[in-house]
C-alpha cells in the first residue's frame, strides 16, 4: 500500500511570494493556506505574545475589508477559516467551495498588502481583551494549565526565544501598542516572507494567474531581518525539577526533553519511538502504567518539532488516587530507559509503523491538511516535496535508530520533571510526593 503522491507546481512571484498549487478534483472544495515565516520566536523581550495578538488583528479589517468582514465573507461563501500562531510561524487558512477560491485569495492579499489602512486603537484594545481571555481560558483557569509555559521555560534558557510561549504574558499583552503593530507588519508581513498554497478543485494555471493578479502588486521587504543563531547544546546537562500546587484532584507528572530540531532524521525515529511508548492502548507506557500496574489514569508522550535549535518531547502520567507519585515517575522513566537500551522487536516496530502509515493516509485525505503541510515544508525547509517523502522516512526507521535516539534524548540529564500536586489533597486518598529539589531559578 502507498499513499497517493501529491503533485504540485512551485514558483516564486517577482515580489518573492512562493506559490504552490496542487490539483485534486475529488471534491468541489479548495484549501488556501498562507504561512508567514514569523512566530513567537521573533518576539523581543517585553513583547511576548505579540505575534499571536497580531494574528488576531489580521481579522480586524484592511483597506477594502471591514472589521470581522473577512470571516463574514468566507462563511457566506460556505467556507471555513482560521489562523494560528506557533513558535516558528503564523498561518492563515480558508477552505471554500471551489468556485469561491478567488474570494479567498483576494481577502488574503488585501490584508497582506493593506492591513495598516484599517488599524485602530479600538480594534487593537478589543482583540487584546479577547486574547487575554483566551489565555485565561487555555492556561490560567484550567487544571494543569501552566505545564507548557513551565516546560518551555525550563527547557530553553531565558535568552532563547523558545523560553516563552506563544500566548505570552498579561503584562506584555497590556503593553502592546499601535506602533508595535505597524512595525511588526512592515517587518514580517511581506510576500517574500510568505508561502501561499492552494490545494483542491482548481486548474493550476488559473490559480497561479489569480495569485499573480492579487498578490503581485504587494511590495517585498528588501531588508528582512535575519534571525540570530538559535543553536543550543543538544542536552540540558542537568535535570531540572519543579513542584506545582494547583487546583487539581489528581497528581500528574510531566516530563520534558530537549530533542533534535525539526527536520532532523533522528526526529523521525523519535516520532516512531513515541508511538511505541505512548501511541494508543497497545503502547508500552499505557500497557504497563495504566493496564497492568494500574498506577496511572492516563499517559502521553509526543514531540513538538521546532527548527530553532531544539524540539520538545513532552509527556505525562496522571497518578491514580492513593498511588505514590514517585512510583509512577520511576515506572515512566524505566520504560524510556529500556527503549534506549534494547532494540524493539520486528513485530512491535511493524505495528507502530502500520499505525503511522494509516495516520498519514488519514491526514492527507483532507485538502486543508495537504495545503498546510506543503506550506510548512516550504517555509521551514524550502522543500515542499517532503510531503511525499515523510512517510518513507518513517517507514525506514530502524530498531537501532530508535534505541539510539531514545538513549540520547530520553535521559535524566536532559529532562525537566514537573510534579503537579493538589492544593487540597483529596480526603480519601493518600497523595504522596517524594522529596524533590526545587529549581529556584524558574520556580519563583
Amino acid at each position: 500500500m502507498s499513499t497517493p503522491v501529491v503533485s504540485f507546481t512551485d514558483e516564486r512571484l517577482p515580489n518573492g511570494l512562493r506559490v504552490i498549487v496542487a490539483e485534486d478534483h475529488l471534491a468541489p472544495v479548495v484549501a488556501v493556506n498562507i504561512w508567514y515565516n514569523v512566530g513567537s520566536k521573533h518576539e523581543v523581550p517585553g513583547k511576548t505574545g505579540f505575534a499571536h495578538l497580531f494574528e488576531h488583528v489580521m481579522f480586524q479589517g484592511s483597506r477594502n475589508v471591514g472589521k470581522a468582514e473577512h470571516i463574514a465573507l468566507i462563511q457566506a461563501a460556505g467556507g471555513t477559516m482560521n489562523g494560528t500562531t506557533w513558535l516558528d510561524r503564523t498561518n492563515y487558512f480558508e477552505t471554500v467551495p471551489s468556485h469561491q477560491l478567488e474570494l479567498a485569495l483576494w481577502l488574503e492579499a488585501d490584508r497582506m498588502g493593506t492591513l495598516l489602512d484599517a488599524l485602530s486603537q479600538e480594534n487593537l484594545d478589543n482583540q487584546r481583551e479577547v486574547v487575554k481571555n483566551e489565555k485565561r481560558w487555555s492556561y490560567d483557569n484550567r487544571p494543569y494549565g501552566s505545564w507548557n509555559e513551565k516546560l518551555q521555560a525550563h527547557l530553553f534558557p531565558p535568552e532563547h526565544p523558545y523560553h516563552h510561549t506563544t500566548i505570552g504574558s498579561m503584562d506584555d499583552l497590556n503593553a502592546a501598542s499601535l506602533e508595535d503593530v505597524r512595525e511588526f507588519f512592515r517587518t514580517w508581513y511581506a510576500p517574500n516572507n510568505a508561502v501561499l498554497t492552494v490545494v483542491g478543485d482548481v486548474e493550476p494555471d488559473k490559480a497561479r494567474e489569480w495569485a499573480r493578479r492579487y498578490f503581485g502588486g504587494i511590495p517585498a521587504n528588501p531588508s528582512l531581518p535575519p534571525i540570530g543563531d538559535l543553536a543550543l547544546p543538544a542536552v540540558l546537562g542537568k535535570e531540572r525539577r519543579e513542584v506545582v500546587f494547583d487546583k487539581v484532584p489528581l497528581p500528574r507528572v510531566y516530563f520534558g526533553f530537549r530533542a533534535p530540531p525539526f527536520g532532523d532524521v533522528r526526529l523521525d525515529a523519535l516520532d516512531v519511538a513515541s508511538q511505541i511508548l505512548a501511541g494508543g492502548r497497545g503502547s508500552r507506557l499505557h500497557r504497563r502504567l495504566v493496564r497492568d500496574e494500574r498506577i496511572a489514569q492516563d499517559v502521553a508522550l509526543f514531540t513538538l518539532g521546532f527548527v530553532g535549535g531544539a524540539s520538545v518531547t513532552a509527556g505525562w502520567a496522571t497518578v491514580r488516587p492513593g498511588v505514590d507519585v514517585g512510583r509512577v515517575e520511576a515506572a515512566f522513566e524505566e520504560e524510556l530507559e529500556r527503549l534506549g537500551r534494547k532494540v524493539v522487536s520486528e513485530d512491535e516496530l511493524a505495528r507502530a509503523k502500520a499505525l503511522v502509515e494509516a495516520d498519514e493516509l488519514g491526514a492527507l485525505q483532507r485538502v486543508e491538511e495537504r495545503a498546510d503541510r506543503l506550506a510548512m515544508y516550504a517555509t521551514l525547509f524550502d522543500d515542499p516535496d517532503l510531503i511525499n517523502r515523510m512517510l518513507g522516512r518513517y517507514l525506514a526507521v530502524t530498531p537501532e535508530a530508535i534505541r539510539d535516539v531514545a538513549a540520547t534524548v530520553l535521559r535524566r540529564d536532559n529532562r525537566v520533571v514537573l510534579t503537579y500536586l493538589p492544593e487540597i489533597p483529596p480526603a480519601d486518598s493518600a497523595v504522596v510526593a517524594e522529596p524533590v529539589e526545587i529549581d529556584e531559578e524558574v520556580a519563583a
Binding site: Q75, R128, I167, L355
Partner: protein, 507 residues
C-alpha cells in the same frame, strides 16, 4: 502605493455537488448494511450502530452503557485485550467503540486493502465480547477518577451543573451519560453485559462502510462475518424517554470557585429533539444567534466587548429533547454585564425579525459548507449514522440544502419564539462568587442560589461529563444545528475551543 485590487471578485459557477450515493442491503439475519463508494479515499471507515444509548438505561445503572462500549475491546472469546489491540495494530487499523445518549457504535478505520481482516476483528468484538471483571474494574476506576477530574475543570463542571439544573431528577439527561460516582461504583462485568445486550439485535442494527471500495464485495464480506450474528435474549427496544424539565421560572445557580479568573456561563433550558418539523428553521435561527463566527452573541460579547474568547449558543439534538444553551467563559469582572448581554440578545431574536442580510449569510453558510463537511469517509459515516440513529428518511441529506434555502425571516421568528424560552431558563455560573455576588444580586436576573463547597474535591455529589463521544452523537444528521464556530486567532495550543461539537453531551 501598494498594488492590491480593490474590487471584490465575484464567485464562479458552483460545481454541482450531491451527498455521495449510498446503497442499502439487508443481511440474512436482518442486519442493515449501508455502503458508500468514495473513489480516491483509501482509508475506509466502518461503523456498526446499535440502538442502545445511555438515555435508555435504568437510573441505578447509569453509566453502564457508556462503560460497556468502552469494555467491548477488553476481551472476546478468541482474543484477550492485548491480542485484539495488537491484531488491529498489525493491520494499521483503529478499532473503537463508544456509546452516547442515543446509541452505541463500534467501528474501525483501516486502509482499504485490509478491510476484510479489520471487519473480522470488529465482528469478533461486537458478537463475542467477554467483559472480563478485572478489566471492567479498571475501566470503572478510570471513570471514577475522570469524574474527579471533571469536577476540577470549570467548563466540565459548568456543563454538568447545567444538565442537572435543567432536567428533572427522573430524566437521564439530568446526569452525565457516563454515570455518576454513586452509580458507576456499582458497575461490574455482569451489569455491563446486560447494558450491552439490550442493543444486540441485528434487525435493529446497521453497519455503515464508506471509502474507496473498488474491488471489494462488501456485502459478501459482511454476510460472511456478520450474517450469523444472532439477537441476544436480553435485547430490548428502547423504552419511553423522560426528558422533562421542572424549571418553572428563571433563576441563577452559582457554583463558587474561589480565585477563578473566569466565570463559565451557561444559560438555557430543555430544548428540542432532532426530529422536529422546524429543524431547518431552528438550525438557521441558532446559527444567527450563536452558531456562526459572526453570530449576534459572538459579535457582541467578543468582537464588541472583548469579554470572552468565544460566545456560542445552540441545541444539543438528541432522540429526546436535549438542552438549548448559550455559553461563554468570561473574565470574572465581566460576569454580570455578560449575562445581561446574553439575555438581551436572546430577547432580541425573539422579539424582532432578523435582518434579511444576516438571514442570507446564515443560509449561504449552511448551504455552501455542505460539501466541505463530507470530504472524508469518517465524516460520511457520521452523517449516515445520524440518519440511522434518528430514523430519518434516506433523502434527508439531499433535502437539506433546498430546505435551508427556503427558510424565511418569518420562519426564523417563529422558531425563535417557539424554541427559546427565556422565562424558563436556568443561569448556571462557575466562578468566584465573592467577586461578582453583589452585582449579581443587584442585576435582578432572578432568585440566586450560591453553592460553596470548598471541601476536598472528592466529597460532595461528584458527577461528571462523559469525555468519550463517538461518531453516533457527533453532529446528529450531519448538517444539524447551527454551525461550527470558527474563530480567528488561536495559537496551536493543546486545547481548541473551535472543535467543540454542538451536539456532544458536554465536554
Amino acid at each position: 502605493m501598494t498594488g492590491v485590487i480593490a474590487t471584490r471578485p465575484v464567485p464562479g459557477t458552483p460545481r454541482p455537488y450531491d451527498f455521495p450515493p449510498f446503497r442499502r442491503d439487508v443481511l440474512s439475519n436482518g442486519l442493515r448494511l449501508i455502503t458508500v463508494h468514495l473513489p480516491g479515499r483509501p482509508l475506509v471507515s466502518a461503523s456498526l450502530i446499535l440502538p442502545n444509548g445511555a438515555a435508555d438505561e435504568a437510573a441505578d445503572q447509569a453509566g453502564a452503557t457508556v462503560l460497556a462500549a468502552r469494555a467491548l475491546s477488553e476481551g472476546t472469546e478468541r482474543y484477550d485485550a492485548i491480542a485484539l489491540i495488537e491484531a488491529s495494530e498489525r493491520l494499521g487499523a483503529t478499532l473503537h467503540a463508544e456509546a452516547g445518549w442515543n446509541a452505541t457504535s463500534a467501528g474501525v478505520d483501516v486502509p482499504a486493502a485490509r478491510l476484510a481482516p479489520a471487519l473480522e476483528l470488529l465482528a469478533e468484538m461486537v458478537a463475542r465480547p467477554t467483559f472480563p471483571d478485572a478489566e471492567v474494574e479498571r475501566l470503572r476506576d478510570e471513570r471514577l477518577n475522570d469524574l474527579l477530574q471533571a469536577r476540577a475543570d470549570p467548563r466540565r463542571r459548568a456543563d454538568e451543573a447545567f444538565a442537572e439544573t435543567v432536567y428533572a431528577r427522573e430524566s437521564p439527561y439530568h446526569r452525565p451519560s457516563g454515570g455518576t460516582k454513586e452509580t458507576v461504583a456499582r458497575l461490574d462485568g455482569r451489569r455491563l453485559r446486560a447494558a450491552y445486550t439490550r442493543g444486540v439485535d441485528p434487525a435493529r442494527a446497521t453497519l455503515i462502510v464508506a471509502g474507496d471500495l473498488s474491488g471489494l464485495d462488501v456485502s459478501a464480506i459482511a454476510e460472511d462475518l456478520f450474517g450469523s450474528w444472532a439477537a441476544d435474549r436480553g435485547a430490548r427496544p428502547p423504552g419511553r424517554l423522560v426528558d422533562r424539565s421542572d424549571v418553572a421560572s428563571r433563576f441563577v445557580r452559582v457554583i463558587h470557585r474561589p480565585g477563578s479568573v473566569q466565570t463559565e456561563i451557561r444559560i438555557g433550558h430543555r430544548g428540542v429533539p432532532r426530529r422536529i418539523p422546524d429543524f431547518h428553521a431552528v438550525s438557521v435561527m441558532a446559527s444567527i444567534l450563536g452558531g456562526l463566527f459572526n453570530s449576534r452573541l459572538n459579535m457582541k460579547l467578543r468582537e464588541e466587548k472583548g469579554y470572552t474568547y468565544g460566545a456560542h449558543a445552540g441545541y444539543d439534538l438528541r432522540r429526546g429533547a436535549g438542552p438549548f444553551s448559550a455559553r461563554a467563559a468570561v473574565n470574572t469582572e465581566a460576569t454580570v454585564p455578560a449575562i445581561a448581554d446574553f439575555l438581551s440578545e436572546i430577547d432580541r431574536i425573539r422579539e424582532r425579525p432578523v435582518d434579511e442580510d444576516e438571514l442570507r449569510a446564515a443560509r449561504d453558510f449552511l448551504v455552501g459548507v455542505f460539501p466541505l463537511r463530507f470530504e472524508t469517509p469518517g465524516a460520511v459515516v457520521g452523517a449516515l449514522s445520524g440518519i440511522v440513529v434518528h430514523d430519518l428518511p434516506d433523502d434527508e441529506l439531499a433535502r437539506y440544502r433546498p430546505a435551508i434555502e427556503a427558510i424565511t425571516r418569518r420562519d426564523v421568528a417563529m422558531a425563535a419564539r417557539a424554541r427559546i424560552e427565556p422565562d424558563r431558563s436556568a443561569i448556571v455560573l462557575v466562578g468566584d462568587a465573592d467577586a461578582f455576588g453583589r452585582d449579581l444580586e443587584a442585576a435582578g436576573f432572578g432568585p440566586i442560589v450560591v453553592e460553596r463547597d470548598e471541601a476536598p474535591v472528592t466529597e460532595g455529589p461528584a458527577e461528571g461529563v462523559d469525555e468519550e463521544m463517538g461518531p453516533v452523537d457527533d453532529h446528529g444528521a450531519g448538517p444539524a444545528e447551527g454551525a461550527e464556530g470558527p474563530a480567528d486567532g488561536r495559537p496551536d495550543e493543546p486545547a481548541d475551543p473551535n472543535t467543540r461539537s454542538e451536539v456532544d453531551d458536554g465536554r
